[in-house]
Amino acid sequence: MKNRIEKIFDRCRKEKRAALILFNSCGYPDMESSERIIQGAIDSGADIIELGVPFSDPMADGAIIQKASQIALQNGATLKKVLAMAERLRLRNPDTGFILFSYFNVLLNYGLEALTEELERIGIDGILSVDLPFEEKEELEPLCHKRGLHLIPLVSPATTPQRVRLITSQTTGFVYYVAVRGITGVRSELPRELLARLSEISGLSPIPVVAGFGISSPATAHQIAQHARGIVVGSAGLRLLFGEKPLEERIADFKAFVQSLAESLCLDA
């Protein structure tokens, strides 16, 4: 039987589009609003949600996610609360992909055995630990396999072709190509070599390659969608959730943005 992530990519292929993967800083601005925001993203067309569990020292993230994490923590976000939220979201959204996304210390502190057991019980599809590279995955990977969870790896523009092969041949689910070198955040322009490199990596990987880090508009999303099986959007959406407007209006802007992204991912004939 195919797992949920495989089914999502199959469905997208049938619909001739790339998958929309949305990163969300859980607990921003608070747990209750965060749940509504994520549900809004799903209702607006997100196929997979990356549930970002805030960490006090998010060294791979840019200013927007740092700020969201800090506010979420001040307002009491914890991994336990994120898991409780994830369980409710799963019950309402049986077909959506959910990936738990965090820094390794947060996961390690919970207990990897207990965490993977809980994720299987809730029906979460996988884990992405941003600071757990190929070299350090041994502590977590066997536990993920035992529980039917994908351990989603990253590759970057600096990753050599041999290393891309090494990383992608030993994994399931999908691989996340960090399209712009460096940390997360919004960029208005995409580097030129990106699309060529993306095609190269897609050619090397036996599992779907999704691209992220820096996608800020439906136009760039559409461009990348021609070369990847999915696109990841984080900061650009999160940015709309900041500002002076009432929260309801911000959430409406956010949902409209997600919808515009979802509609931009069709493949050109």
């Binding site: 060294m59 390794f104 210390n105 996961l107 502190n109 590279p133 790896p153 600096a158 960090v178 460096g182």
Partner: protein, 397 residues
């Protein structure tokens, strides 16, 4: 090269940095074996830093304590006033070899920032130092020194605005600019190969002091004592003596702040749990949810929620012992050394001194305690003044 120490160490960073770390490891391995690199390092140690640093018998302090003879390894006499430059010179040489144009560094007390700015000037490299806003306020003279040396000081306003946040920001900068930038980490923490590389550059302290101790005293010390924040001066001196256990005890002194039981301290081994931060697995100060905790120490250089992974391993294996000294004892030791020996120590080093002062009476006058006096205290004048204002204590007269 060993990337783990027992379960500790490793390379817990995003994939974006892995190729850069692999390149650094390869280049460092090559440099270590290169006679030219070694010769240049030794030349600069001698003629630029002023090595070897003296081993000094603190007679009046020893008499005052009654008991063991206290010897000080005078790293405070190095150029720039602390042990930090041993490491920055090594890393800058490596950066030049790798054709990097720009050095970046994190700094807490500012000593590592100054030592990095110094070698950047020496080698004609661009230099940017990340420093938390809180530290900038309490270490203003070092900010001026860095700027005088031509470095740009970047104020870090995220998180707790101290050393750990400066390190986050430096890692972010490095991730985005590793093609032309070399990240000079100031302690034996961070992802592999940093803990090993920094230890190697600092091991000159231990190698010198073991030989000096045998020459001057004809025997080895009973305890080798050093303060531990990240732990580079401690590991540097321990390396010379680990082979001599159990005859010689290596003792790392952490910052006990207001006391371990108050939770207001920076003692990662004595009061922390295993976790992962800044690229390595090690003892950390964290809350129940795995979030990194605020730390406190009267000395900015020890105010860090983690510790070098090799120390975590040495602690577990009981190859070294780790204790905590609280703010008041460190401040008292600071004054005592100034008054009895005419040496103003860094507040960091004063923690190590305080331990020596406390245990000296339990030894006989034939025994030797070796303290790594890792830095000088000029930078701490304002800190000490503020400390006494807050606690309304008078300087001991």
């Amino acid at each position: 090269m060993k990337s783990h120490y027992g379960i500790y160490g490793g390379q817990y960073v995003a994939e974006t940095l892995l190729p850069t770390l692999h390149e650094l490891e390869r280049e460092y391995e090559k440099a270590k074996k290169d006679p030219e690199f070694r010769a240049e390092l030794e030349h600069l140690f001698k003629h630029y830093i002023g090595r070897e640093s003296p081993l000094y018998h603190a007679r009046r302090l020893s008499q005052h304590c009654g008991g063991a003879q206290i010897y000080l390894k005078r790293e405070d006499l190095n150029h720039t006033g602390a042990h930090k430059v041993n490491n920055t010179i090594g890393q800058a040489l490596l950066a030049r070899k790798m054709n990097k144009k720009r050095l970046i560094a994190e700094t807490g007390a500012g000593m590592h920032g100054v030592a990095t700015a110094t070698v950047a000037a020496l080698f004609g490299l661009e230099c940017e130092v990340f420093m938390g806003a809180v530290d900038i306020a309490r270490q203003a003279p070092n900010v001026e020194r860095m700027e005088m040396l031509g470095a740009k000081v970047q104020t870090v306003t995220t998180g707790s605005q101290t050393l750990k946040d400066a390190m986050n920001e430096a890692i972010r900068d490095w991730t985005a600019r590793s093609e032309d930038t070399f990240y000079v980490i100031g302690t034996v923490a961070g992802p592999h190969p940093y803990p090993a590389m920094v230890r190697d550059f600092q091991s000159v302290i231990g190698l010198e002091s073991r030989r000096q101790c045998l020459e001057q005293c004809g025997k080895l010390p009973r305890e080798v004592i050093a303060c531990v924040g990240g732990g580079s001066n401690a590991l540097g001196i321990f390396v010379g003596f680990l082979q001599d256990a159990p005859q010689v005890n290596c003792v790392g002194v952490e910052a006990g702040g207001h006391g371990l039981d108050t939770g207001i301290h920076a003692a990662s081994i004595c009061g922390g749990r295993v976790g992962v931060l800044h690229g390595c697995k090690t003892y950390l100060l964290q809350d129940n949810d795995g979030q990194i905790r605020q730390t406190h120490s009267v000395s900015a250089g020890l105010d860090y929620p983690g510790v070098g992974p090799e120390h975590s391993h040495l602690a577990d294996e009981k190859l070294a012992r780790y204790v905590a000294v609280n703010d008041p004892e460190a401040v008292e030791a600071f004054h005592l050394l100034a008054r009895l020996e005419g040496i103003i120590p860094a507040l960091e080093s004063a923690h190590a001194l305080a331990h020596a002062i406390a245990v000296a009476p339990s030894y006989s006058p034939e025994d030797i305690l070796l303290v790594n006096l890792s830095g000088r205290g000029d930078k701490d004048m304002e800190n000490i003044r503020r400390y006494h204002e807050k606690t309304q204590q008078k300087n001991p007269q």
